[in-house]
């Protein structure tokens, strides 16, 4: 049998994982890409204005995590069984880890996009797809988490 403490732990850790890991993913995405953007942008300002998309998309990951975290907090009162607590924990985990992976991808792709487009500006429109698809991973996590939360 699961005691009350374990149930509470599962509930609150779901929020912590969702918000914490998403914020970490966003941080990685922003810091990795923004260094290259700043360097290339200091030489070619147009590179910075175009590549800011990587920073915006990385920041969106933290917002996804926050949305899931807030919804979980709102649902706290109705989580009264192990099944529901596990559902909340899974929702938090999915959101957190997908945002983290997405942030790593955005950071890495965003950095390469900034460097590549600084050298050859014409490739930006083609390579930006990489950053957008990395962001989609976080979006999948958000949708899955929301569907799980709706079932609580």
């Amino acid at each position: 049998m699961v005691d009350g403490l374990s149930l509470e732990l599962l509930k609150y850790s779901s929020v912590a994982l969702s918000v914490g890991l998403s914020a970490l993913g966003a941080l990685i995405g922003i810091s990795w890409s923004s260094k290259a953007i700043a360097g290339a942008g200091s030489e070619k300002p147009e590179v910075a204005s175009r590549n800011i998309i990587s920073v915006v998309l990385a920041e969106a990951l933290a917002i996804y995590g926050l949305i899931v975290g807030l919804l979980l907090i709102l649902k706290m009162g109705s989580i009264d069984s192990l099944g529901k607590a596990l559902m909340a924990f899974t929702a938090g985990c999915i959101m957190g880890f997908t945002a983290l992976i997405s942030g790593l991808g955005i950071g890495s792709c965003g950095r390469s996009l900034a460097l590549g487009s600084a050298r050859r500006p014409e490739i930006f429109s083609r390579l930006v797809l990489g950053v957008v698809l990395c962001e989609a991973i976080g979006l999948y996590g958000l949708v899955t988490s929301l569907l799980l939360i709706m079932r609580i």
């Binding site: 990795w32 260094k35 700043a38 290339a40 900034a114 460097l115 590549g116 600084a118």
Partner: protein, 340 residues
């Protein structure tokens, strides 16, 4: 010693790469009518904008401005990262050594500070005051300072000078020591293109040694003096160097290296005066290809140095085109002395 990547710096470098002169740009420069036409086309590239000199036919002013542009680039790319500054300082040691060699040899030649300062290459890490202070010291003090700071073995130059009384020996030894010190430093670096860069430096040392021996034989210099100029680094075994030193004529030296992997330096060259220009150009072509591989890796910590190495080769080519144009020589010959 492993370097960490600065993506900020790599971003700057990638943004500056398009300003490197392309093959087409070089073709345009080769086909220019005269020195004025050459300079007007060259200065349309933002990197060379400062070359808009008042008298385009003054070679000293042109050289000084060209070196200032190159050194400013080194200085600018080293100011963002402390470790990169150290790497650049070691990379630029031969340039500094050229200045220091000039200072040391100026003492026995009796040159004034005014004369020496005109010939000093701008140093991005130390101002001209540093050289002026050194100039005020005695020859022995300058060499003792170098021995303690950067160039181990600099005091040996004094012994050689005392026996030969030849001021150029001082310059040559200081220069040689700087190459050795630079290679020693880069041999300690690991990862991120450091191996490729070291390969280039070792190759460069070999070619310098081969050309030193060849030129020594052409000029009839004794083996002892040539040996003093040989850099104690590179892929060539010391036994090979000793063997080649024993050859009497430059033709024998050339024939020996033609049968080795360094044969590409001498292939199709028959005149001794062509060797220095064309062999150096062939080396530059090879270095360009090797360094190009570092530029393909955006995560390489040595990306700024790879870019600057290409810039250095480019500046050398620009200088050659300028002198060809200034002297009114044919453009066709130029293609053999610049790495297109």
């Amino acid at each position: 010693m492993r370097l960490s990547t600065s993506y900020f710096l790599n971003g700057i470098v990638y943004a500056r790469l398009p300003t490197l002169l392309s093959r087409d740009s070089f073709e345009t420069l080769i086909l220019t009518k005269d020195v004025e036409d050459f300079l007007s086309r060259l200065t349309s590239n933002p990197f060379y904008y400062d070359l808009k000199v008042s008298d385009p036919k003054d070679p000293l002013l042109f050289e000084k401005r060209l070196m200032t542009i190159l050194m400013n680039e080194f200085g600018e790319l080293s100011k963002y990262d402390r470790k990169m500054r150290e790497v650049m300082e070691y990379y630029l040691l031969p340039y500094r050594a050229r200045n220091l060699g000039l200072l040391t040899s100026s003492k026995p030649m009796g040159l004034t500070w005014g004369e020496v300062s005109r010939l000093i290459i701008p140093d991005p890490f130390t101002g001209i005051d540093f050289y002026e202070t050194l100039y005020s010291l005695s020859l022995e003090s300058i060499l003792a300072y170098l021995e303690g700071k950067v160039l181990r073995g600099a005091l040996e130059a004094l012994k050689v000078f005392e026996s030969t009384r030849d001021p150029t020996v001082l310059e040559a030894i200081v220069m040689k020591l700087s190459y050795e010190e630079r290679i020693n430093y880069f041999a300690k670096l690991r990862g991120g293109g450091a191996e490729a860069l070291l390969d280039c430096l070792l190759l460069e040392a070999d070619v310098i040694n081969i050309l030193t021996i060849y030129k020594g034989k052409v000029m009839g210099i004794s083996n002892d003096v040539i040996a003093l100029n040989v850099i104690k680094a590179g892929y060539l075994y010391p036994t090979v160097i000793l063997k080649v030193l024993e050859y009497r004529s430059p033709r024998e030296v050339m024939d020996y290296f033609l049968s080795t992997e360094y044969g590409f330096l001498f292939e199709g060259i028959s005149e001794a005066f062509e060797v220095a220009l064309r062999a150096r150009n062939r080396l530059n072509k090879l270095l360009y290809l090797k360094i190009g591989t570092i530029l393909l890796d955006p995560s390489s910590p040595l990306l700024p140095l790879a870019y600057l190495k290409l810039r250095e080769i480019e500046v050398e080519s620009v200088r050659r085109i300028y002198h060809f144009k200034r002297l009114g020589l044919k453009g066709e010959k130029l293609r053999e002395v610049i790495p297109l």
